[in-house]
Amino acid sequence: MRRVAAIQAIYPELERSVVVTIMGAVAAELQSIGHRPNFFYLQHAMGLASSVGLGLALARPELPVVVLDGDGSLLMNLGGLTTLARYRPGNLVHVVFDNESLLSVGGFPTATSTGSDLAAIAKGAGVPRTATVGTLEEFRGAFVAAQGAGELTTLVAKVEAVGPAGYVTDLTLLENRFQFARHLKERLRKE
């Protein structure tokens, strides 16, 4: 499964959600499909995307929050899984694209390439719903089910270690950040 195809497969659901991505390929690929004001790209601070998602989910329990994480990023904040599990917001779906490498910095293999199982780690941390999927159909099915479950889910999607040619887009970091905050403010007013 290619990550960009996986993102494409759930794009209609992402359009309705509040989305936080990690830096690099995931951010560039989601933007290549189509940026929306409800998408926030955390272009550094590796590991913190899931914590940002937790903050959003706790602050606004009525919003469906999706975190698009990666193996390299999650491995930098494994303790954060225990915090996610502790508060287990039912409005948060935590997707981990696992390409078993740090693709954006040269493709060095991560520990998932030598057997570390992120879904098992999430389960052990106490995340109530976890799964690992390997095909597009499985991924889309599991993602839709997770959004309907009303229970915190960590969904690990095994993807190929391929990405876009470049990572810098014409959306500046601060433009994205202030647009995202304004979107959430306006959404609160409408609801």
């Binding site: 936080v20 926030f40 955390l42 272009q43 550094h44 601070a45 590991g47 913190l48 995307a49 899931s50 914590s51 940002v52 998602g53 937790l54 903050g55 959003l56 989910a57 706790l58 602050a59 606004r60 919003l63 904040n77 303790g79 954060g80 225990t82 915090t83 502790r86 508060y87 970091l173 601060l174 950040r177 995202f180 905050a181 959430l184 403010k185 609160l188």
Partner: protein, 170 residues
């Protein structure tokens, strides 16, 4: 335990007056009363962390969602959170309100706390993070309010150092 309940109550009142509704924390001796107050307060969401850097993410998410938050940590926790503070809080202009217990200053008896106290203010300066000290009951609420005001107007992280003279009674 000689951690001041009255000072902790004052700090907590300052946070409430600043509109804080989410507090992330990692326990440390000087923070025990504050953390209990947050836990017992139905208006407050307390997020107990595994490591302080997570608190930067929690506060970033809650700020973007429009809910004011604060981070409670020891100065060694602040040191452990620096990349998050720089590459999330500062990069994305998040008004983090950081309350940092300043262990390792004059009067410190625990040998293991003594290195952090000497570097904390220098690191805050190096990071260009505006900070002030909470060292007397006379100004606690006022300084918290002023810190929050600057964090918001500048859209940048700020820090308040919880000092021994305020927090510890011995």
């Amino acid at each position: 335990m000689p951690v001041s309940v009255s000072a902790s109550t004052q700090v907590y009142r300052g946070l409430k007056q600043a509109g804080v509704r989410i507090v992330s924390a990692l326990p440390e001796t000087w923070l025990v009363h504050l953390i209990r107050m947050a836990e017992d307060d139905p208006e407050m969401t307390l997020v107990r962390l595994a490591k302080e850097e997570e608190g930067v993410g929690i506060s970033t998410g809650s700020h973007l969602a429009g809910v004011p938050s604060a981070m409670l940590m020891q100065n060694h926790g602040f040191l452990a959170a620096i990349n998050g503070i720089v590459s999330c809080g500062q990069l994305y202009r998040i008004p983090l309100l950081m309350l940092i217990s300043q262990r390792g200053s004059f009067g410190e008896k625990d040998p293991w706390q003594t290195e952090g106290g000497g570097v904390t203010e220098h690191v805050l300066d190096a990071l260009r993070i505006p900070f002030d000290r909470l060292d007397s009951p006379a100004h606690v609420e006022k300084r918290i309010a002023k810190a929050q005001t600057l964090a918001r107007s500048a859209s940048r992280p700020v820090a308040l150092l919880l000092e021994r003279d305020l927090m510890w009674e011995d």
